[in-house]
């Protein structure tokens, strides 16, 4: 089966309240058959946040394919195109980094580990002596393993003592975490994938799930194509497959103007109040702030929302009615909200809708604030993103003392005297020269951060010593002073946690190439070389293997919402991944949080005292205590404000960036799979038919797109965006001297006041035609970037895969009809 052409695979429809049938999807590289495979090694897919359980096929010491695990609660055996085609091909790519590199006379040259590490520690030591811990910054990933993040977090917080540590998760999932903290007091996904089987309606907010988490979308399709389907409501400025499904199920597609999400959400919220769809008794008992929220949303009548957002007032009313009158509603949220203007307030508004109706903690009534990357969740849990390990509150002295006790260090070492420094601020400090040592692991900010030219300038300048560890010589690695070759997925062991809290163990299947080492080993080697010690003079980091690191983390999670104490490597070798908390009360894990409607908001327990959603100002402990939240959730609202950059005569179109189904992140792995790469080989830009006609642009023409910050030259797809908007996929970097196609050349340096997530979807631009095209744009036809012109040949040609039905096993935490 060609899974490039057939993204979601065959349907297995089933009735509401029944278990999603199992089906095993498998891909083996050219010429390999099942009987050739030497071993299958336990893992989970690392190419999006869904975390599909899988086994890696190994032949002659090479990874040669994957198959879904039928017994895994997340995917019931399925895999999507990225997982199938993209999981293993990169590993034996000839351009893997196999030896460390150091910069000599301006050039990166190969060297050995001792030389490279000595260079790193020499600069690190000198700066610590001269300037102290604030001279050090760490920028990490959403693609390492839990053990690696936790080790890095301990090095940064207890060894060095710097608050400058963040992950690229800031770019993809910070708003999910921030919105949970504001509403419920701590991070933690309330809902479960099993809510799909129990709900009556599904709202997808800025979440093109059909492309970003294809297997989860298959799970939804298997319900919407059944005889008793849930109704879909889609909020997205593009006509995506999700939007089409909304129309098919009798739901609504709302396409708000870019930058107006919060006005739309306020309108939906107001409709709940105006129509009496609020569960007053539940709200009184379990929430705080309903009167303020009612006042905030009062001005957002359907007509006012229609005026601001450019949506039809009756469509808004219909969507609100679906939310207000359905028995069980599941909501999912992603980048369309997180990377847009007023991100945290908009994501929080989704929680508000659920809280107003008491639709949380019950089968079918869930919230899934999604993550972009596969291990973003662990970054948040362990504190490699600047938070403190175990969802502890940096403003709470008792929490700091707990950590200080755990690590046996002086509480003052742990940087808690100021808010953790977010990624964009770390770059600013590096730009000013006050961060002189920046360590970047497994991420490519030269492509993925906004205003790329500025980021390249900062990283290539001589004010900051840059260490990069990665699989390949990425755009970012080329600018580094030291490059460390890392082992990737399948070449090392570790755990990671998907969007709905399910923890998987991924075992080492093969040896890494050349001298490449696991990120864990690299961090441990640095800690050893720096000789970080605890208060008793013992080594600060006492673990040497991934399993020992996991055990150390387990202790750090004890008593916190993210409780791993009931998990072990042995337990994770069982048939399925397991959702946390796992402890004595929940030995088999926890499918759904907040079933008792008690939220982690108590002042002494919560992860944050909260913020003003408009400004990001912190709420103080005294203010929080005075509210006596004591387990009640917060209803928080904010007024809509116009976006930071609006269209003008000079830049008349709105520019927004996004994703395509066949690529992941900056394509480090997916571009090395022939099937995936051929399906979406180069960058493009999408225009609406009306705008294209006005500009004299036809399918495939070469165009220049310019914003006040930069320009790109790419081919045009006349497609599905709303008139007035322009869409560009963010995955593509600039190769050498080619005309730049990198979407982030145009984006702004501006971020959400609470989550500090950059707004990739707020910019104005203009488009001009450069010359006629010689064929259609290199954009896939299969999903959101489908062409308006039916004459474009369909995207197809993926390698063969198999898909077979198997008996559906019994899944713990997935009871089916109750």
């Amino acid at each position: 089966m060609d899974r490039i052409a057939d993204i979601w695979g065959p349907r297995t429809p089933h009735p509401r309240g029944t278990v999603w049938p199992a089906r095993v999807d498998q891909y083996l590289a050219d010429g390999i058959t099942e009987s050739d495979v030497d071993r299958w090694v336990l893992s989970a897919c690392l190419l999006c946040s869904n975390g599909c359980g899988c086994d890696i096929a190994v032949k002659d010491g090479r990874m040669v394919g994957v198959r879904g695990r039928a017994t895994d609660v997340v995917n019931h055996g399925r895999l999507g195109p990225k997982g199938l085609y993209g999981s293993t091909a990169w590993a034996h790519s000839p351009d893997r980094l196999t030896r460390p590199l150091v910069r000599e006379n301006g050039e990166l040259v190969e060297t050995d580990w001792d030389t490279a590490m000595a260079r790193v520690t020499e600069v690190s030591r000198r700066l610590l002596d001269e300037k102290g811990p604030l001279s050090h910054g760490f920028y990490t990933s959403g693609q390492l393993f839990l053990e690696e993040y936790y080790t890095l977090a301990v090095i940064g917080k207890a060894g060095i003592g710097t608050p400058h540590m963040d992950g690229n998760t800031r770019l993809c999932t910070a708003t999910a975490a921030a919105s949970f903290k504001e509403s419920f007091g701590a991070d933690g996904q309330p809902g479960s994938y099993t809510d799909i089987e129990h709900c009556d309606a599904i709202f997808l907010y800025g979440h093109n799930m059909a492309e970003t988490q294809t297997v989860l979308w298959s799970r939804i399709l298997d319900r919407t194509r059944a005889a008793d389907p849930p109704v879909i409501v889609c909020v997205d400025p593009r006509r995506t497959p999700v939007a089409a499904e909304a129309e098919r199920t009798g739901g609504v597609h709302l396409a708000p103007r870019v930058g107006t999400n919060l006005a739309l959400m306020n309108g939906l919220t107001r409709e709940l109040f105006a129509n009496g769809w609020v569960d007053e008794e539940w709200v009184a008992r379990h929430t705080l702030g309903v009167d303020d929220l009612r006042a905030v949303v009062e001005p957002y009548t359907p007509d006012e929302v229609a005026r601001i957002c450019g949506v039809d007032a009756d469509d808004l009313r219909r969507a609100a009615r679906i939310f207000g009158t359905s028995g069980a509603v599941l909501s999912t949220v992603l980048q369309g909200f997180y990377q847009s203007h007023q991100a945290t307030a908009s994501a929080v508004a989704v929680h508000n809708l659920h809280l107003l109706r008491g639709l949380i903690g019950r089968p079918g009534s869930g919230i899934l604030q999604m993550n972009g990357q596969p291990t973003a969740q662990n970054n948040r849990e362990t504190g490699a993103d600047g938070d403190l390990p175990g969802f502890r509150n940096w403003d709470n002295e008792t929490h700091i003392r707990e950590l200080a006790g755990l690590w046996n260090v002086d509480p003052l070492t742990i940087p808690h005297w100021a808010p953790p420094t977010h990624a964009m601020q770390i770059m600013s400090y590096a730009e000013e020269g006050s961060i002189g040592f920046l360590w970047i692991s497994a991420t490519n900010p030269a492509v993925s951060m906004p205003e790329s030219a500025r980021i390249r300038r900062i990283l290539s300048g001589d004010r900051c010593f840059v260490v990069v560890q990665d699989l390949f010589l990425t755009e970012t690695a080329r600018l580094a002073d030291v490059v460390l070759p890392a082992a990737g997925w399948g070449e090392k062991t570790g755990t990671f946690t998907n969007v709905n809290r399910t923890v998987h163990l991924s075992e080492q299947a093969v040896e890494p190439p050349g001298e490449a080492r696991s990120d864990l080993d690299i961090f441990l080697a640095y800690a050893r070389a720096m000789d970080f010690r605890d208060a008793a003079g013992e080594p600060l980091i006492r673990w040497r293997t991934a399993e020992e690191a996991f055990e150390a983390w387990r202790e750090a999670s004890r008593g916190r919402p993210v409780d791993y104490t009931g998990l072990s490597y042995a337990k994770l070798r069982g048939p399925t991944g397991i959702p946390w908390p796992v402890n004595e009360d929940a030995p088999e894990g926890t499918d759904r949080l907040y079933t008792d409607a008690v939220f982690p908001t108590a002042t002494d327990y919560c992860e944050t005292y909260g913020h003003d959603l408009l400004t990001g100002a912190s709420v103080t402990e005294q203010e929080h205590r005075a509210l006596r939240p004591d387990g009640r959730a917060f209803l928080k609202g904010a007024a809509w404000t116009p976006p930071h950059e609006e269209t003008s005569d000079e830049y008349p179109l709105l520019y927004t960036t996004g994703r395509t189904v066949y690529q992941f992140h900056t394509r480090t792995k997916t571009s090395r799979s022939r099937s995936l790469n051929d399906a979406a080989p180069e960058s493009w830009v999408e225009l609406s038919p009306a705008d294209a006609a006005g500009l004299g642009i036809a399918e495939g023409d070469l165009v220049r797109v310019e914003s006040p910050r930069g320009s790109i030259e790419v081919k045009a797809r006349v497609g599905q965006v709303m008139p007035g908007a322009v869409f560009a996929p963010f995955h593509y970097g600039s190769a050498g001297d080619d005309p730049p196609g990198q979407a982030n050349e145009l984006t702004m340096t501006v971020w959400d006041p609470v989550s500090k997530q950059p707004y990739f979807k707020t910019a104005a631009c203009r488009v001009t035609k450069l010359r006629d095209g010689d064929g259609p744009a290199p954009a896939p036809t299969t999903a959101g970037s489908a062409p308006a012109d039916a004459g474009v040949p369909p995207t197809e040609g993926g390698a063969a895969t198999t898909s077979r039905s198997v008996p559906t096993p019994a899944y713990p935490n997935d009871p089916g009809v109750s």
Binding site: G132, L134, A418, S618
Partner: protein, 155 residues
């Protein structure tokens, strides 16, 4: 009645604060959060000034020479910004001083409004007082964030 003097003070102090927020925001535009948040916060003060206008018309605004005691309370706004990380910190601190003056002014006005049972004025004073708290909270938060780096490592 001396209330008019305090209304004048509120009016001028809010205007000064609004202008100063804009100066600091534009002057530190390389820190985008400072730029955009200062704009938003300036907007709050603008709004207070606008809503005060009809009330001032009712009481008359006295801002004359014989009211020289409160006159001395008028603080000069920020006409230009300082440069560098420590400069940002100092500018935020100056805004905080201005904001504190605004806040105590509203506290005093709210007391008077209660005495006069002037609901419109009381509502405005309480609303403005609340928003001034938001301005001050943000300034505090941002100063806490900037201080360690500015004072310990920046050159």
């Amino acid at each position: 009645m001396q209330l008019a003097i305090y209304l004048a003070l509120a009016h001028r102090a809010e205007q000064t604060l609004a202008d100063s927020f804009r100066v600091v925001g534009e002057g530190h535009a390389q820190q985008p959060d400072v730029l955009f948040t200062c704009r938003t916060l300036a907007g709050m003060s603008d709004d207070h000034v606008r809503r005060l206008a009809p009330i001032v018309r009712r009481y008359g605004e006295r801002d004359d020479a014989d009211a020289d005691e409160p006159e001395r309370l008028h603080a000069a706004g920020l006409a230009e910004v300082r440069s560098g990380p420590v400069g940002l910190l100092r500018d935020l601190q100056d805004l905080h001083v201005l904001g504190t003056l605004v806040q105590t002014t509203w506290t005093v006005v709210a007391q008077a409004a209660q005495g006069l049972r002037d609901r419109d004025l009381l509502e405005l004073a309480q609303h403005a007082n609340g928003e001034t708290s938001r301005q001050l909270s943000w300034l505090n938060t941002r100063m806490k964030q900037a201080a360690p780096q500015a004072l310990v490592v920046a050159e």
